[in-house]
Symmetry: C2
Subunit: 463 residues, 2 copies
């Protein structure tokens, strides 16, 4: 039981930790939150010396062209206009990386207490490194991100997972970040703001609102459990680690050969036959959006607006800057429905095409609804799920979790894992699929198959 | 032993066939070649009533904007110009599909004797369907391709494989076709030009120069062998089907958890740090290429030229048309090196970035050399491989195979599978990787990981 697979599973099973106790981690985050003050207030872009609105090109950008820019985008289907919105352009690929290390026989993950200006609280648990290309190429001078050298030379270490994955395609245009997990055997310096914790501890912390950030969740969702050969001799030991035999079966006994081609069949039908086109459009040509010195606002109901913020973070050192953030106008609902078929967990996923999707479409969770979606738009399955939201017997997880506080202002969304009896799922509408965990874990090893909402819901599961 | 996996493996093992003998298939193709005459001669575009050269946009296209167009493209690395060339634009996704059926207990593949104007011989063995979107949307009227209805409603059948895969990225800009294999249980009409054959028979035919076309090879390379759970009880029966235990081990005993993240690490380093950009350029602005009424020719050494052809196919019905084709100026060499490590086959693959790659880079074979590559450019490993080309003891396969005769004129390339002792591979240069078949088969289930040269070499392997 000393393979990497077993180390990962044992760390998942370990909810108490062997380096830092879960209580001490919660205290640490709380203390960071108390001693750090983020002052953030809406501002006019005219007060920024760095960001500006280019009215000629209809684009929000900064004087170094670093980090990101905001442009308009229009979506056409079958050559007919469908919708328009501002969207974040950030074509660079950043790092979201976690260092692991076996400490006293237990695999620990090196996590960071990281401040992001847009967080509802200020500090959340983040990956070891979370750096845009502008950060690590030092577009603005300054120091390299801590631990960058481990990721820069990641091929020297044991790589558990390394994949370029999509982010929120309703806000980002084809944005991808590199999700990477490495195991380092050598001694590692532990800087302030960093702590070791087990996978099980991080999963426990995910049950608390807004403690574990989005970037942590997407990285952990990629841990591969299905790539090592598992002989009949090893499996019983693995099985013992699982509370639910049905979950174990969903990982180690599932047959992907039916599920994966079936899902790709639907994805490929969409890519082949669906005539979807997006066109970059100057912000000042969007007909339903108003651009002024405070930001960009929709004349109608919209899921977000763009605002400029004046931000200062006070802790050991004072930092002060201005930047635009996407401000949510409400809370979205992401639901992953789980069921059990023949003693095997199956997950209800759906095809999700979004305006900024890298290759037109990805797999999303059972429900991914912005707050502006109305009941009139629900299908039978969605109606059923909404009714069960208040039924505690169905609910495995129900937690408010934040989107990336470096781009989004106070955006927290409701993440729900809901169990529904298979009898009630017999007549799933066409664009839903029942998938075992093995197939999902297979596809997550590959870029741009599972969207970030689905990946992040999967990261909440307990062993 | 009645799972789909076993059916596939048994069909692979079956080199004699149970519906049509291999000899009768060879005779059939030969007879088709004798009774069909393709007259193809170079022509001036001025003689075409359908294709034309648009000198304003610098583009070759047809009056319906169907099938494809030819534009110029320039490649920049780190904002410096690297190279330029004409390239085929065909953003639609076409079908390359094969219908399988269990006949008297043996899985047979329904293959077509298909004429393509650019083939060195005229008729080759093709998938059941090979249709561009212009074909099946009947852009030019006419009938639907035969068997189209099975693929249009493929979700009704058992889908073995369904993936959108890249084509030659040195000639096509981000071109992808949908590779699909379905099992149909119902009675199927067998039209003239179609015959059932086993997977093993098709593999035998691949040993003969230019009998099995490119499209067949890419589709068959995608057959999944690793997605069904294989208990210790089933594996011994599977093992018996294999001539080589090392090959069996490479599929069923290999550990992908090291290989796949390691390879993605290199791919992602490239995608993240390599500043590569292509720019669509009017053909008349390419500085090294001359456009005239006969086609497009490079002033310097180049791998291909574009020529216009007047084509007539005489068989049961006479067809006559004109079109541009890419004419190769020589034969390329594609080598897949195989070795054995601890009684397991490993394949040497390399990272291949091409001007038309869908997402910058894919995995290619050990060697993928256009005929214009000179020995001065070889690395140590390539030098070794070239020396062994004449050593029959190393050579598992050495066969001339055609590229797609609908776009390429008389383009045939040398495909070699070469065994090299592992001792000689200890010092592989950095951009080569040793991969087991399991990992390659894992990644082939996913789009745009393995390029067409590598996929097609893998399709040649015997069980």
């Amino acid at each position: 039981m000393d393979s990497i697979l077993c180390l990962l599973l044992e760390s998942w099973k370990n909810t108490e930790g062997n380096v830092n106790s879960t209580e001490s981690i919660i205290d640490w985050i709380q203390e960071k939150n108390e001693t750090t003050e983020v002052k953030i207030k809406e501002d006019s872009i005219n007060d920024s010396t760095f960001w500006f609105y280019d009215d000629y090109n209809g684009e929000i950008l900064n004087r170094k062209r670093s980090f990101f820019s905001i442009k308009g985008i229009r979506l056409f289907e079958n050559e007919k206009f469908v919708k328009e919105q501002p969207i974040i352009y950030q074509p660079e690929i950043g790092y979201l990386g976690i260092i692991c290390k076996k400490i006293d026989g237990v695999l620990n993950f090196l996590m960071q207490a990281k401040i992001e200006p847009g967080n509802v609280n200020c500090v959340q648990i983040s990956p070891t490194i979370q750096a845009t290309k502008s950060n690590f190429t030092r577009a603005h001078g300054g120091k390299l991100p801590l631990y960058f050298e481990y990721f820069e030379s990641s091929s020297k270490y044991k790589i558990i997972y390394d994949q370029i994955q999509s982010e929120q395609a309703s806000r980002f245009y084809k944005k991808r970040n590199r999700n990477i997990i490495i195991i380092v055997d050598e001694e590692i310096p532990i800087y302030d703001n960093f702590k070791w914790m087990t996978l099980g501890q991080i999963k426990q912390l995910m049950k608390i609102d807004n403690i574990v950030n989005m970037d942590t969740r997407t990285v952990l969702s990629g841990i591969p459990y299905i790539m090592q050969p598992t002989s009949d001799a090893v499996l019983p030991n693995i099985k013992k680690l699982f509370t639910s035999e049905a979950f174990y079966n969903s990982i180690f006994e599932a047959d992907c050969s039916q599920t994966i081609p079936r899902v790709y069949n639907a994805i490929n039908n969409y890519k082949m036959f669906h005539d979807v086109m997006t066109v970059e459009t100057p912000l000042n040509q969007l007909t339903d959006w108003v651009v002024d010195e405070r930001g960009i606002t929709c004349k109608n109901k919209a899921d977000f607006m763009v605002k400029y913020y004046d931000i200062s973070i006070e802790g050991r050192e004072v930092q002060h800057w201005t930047q635009p953030l996407f401000k949510a106008t409400g809370e979205a609902l992401f639901v992953l429905v789980v069921t059990e078929v023949d003693n095997m967990l199956k997950f209800v996923v759906s095809l999700k095409s979004e305006i900024g999707s890298f290759d037109k479409i990805e797999l999303g969770p059972s429900i991914q609804h912005e707050h502006t979606v109305t009941q009139a738009e629900f299908d039978v399955f969605e109606n059923m799920c909404y009714k069960k939201l208040d039924n505690p017997e169905c609910i495995w997880n129900d937690v408010m979790l934040s989107e990336e506080g470096g781009r989004f202002y106070h955006e927290q969304n409701r993440n729900v894992i809901m169990y529904i009896d298979y009898k009630e799922l017999k007549d799933l509408p066409d664009n839903y699929f029942l998938m075992d965990f093995r197939s999902l874990n297979y596809l997550i090893q590959v870029n741009n198959c599972l969207n970030i909402q689905l990946r992040n819901l999967l990261s909440l599961l307990d062993i």
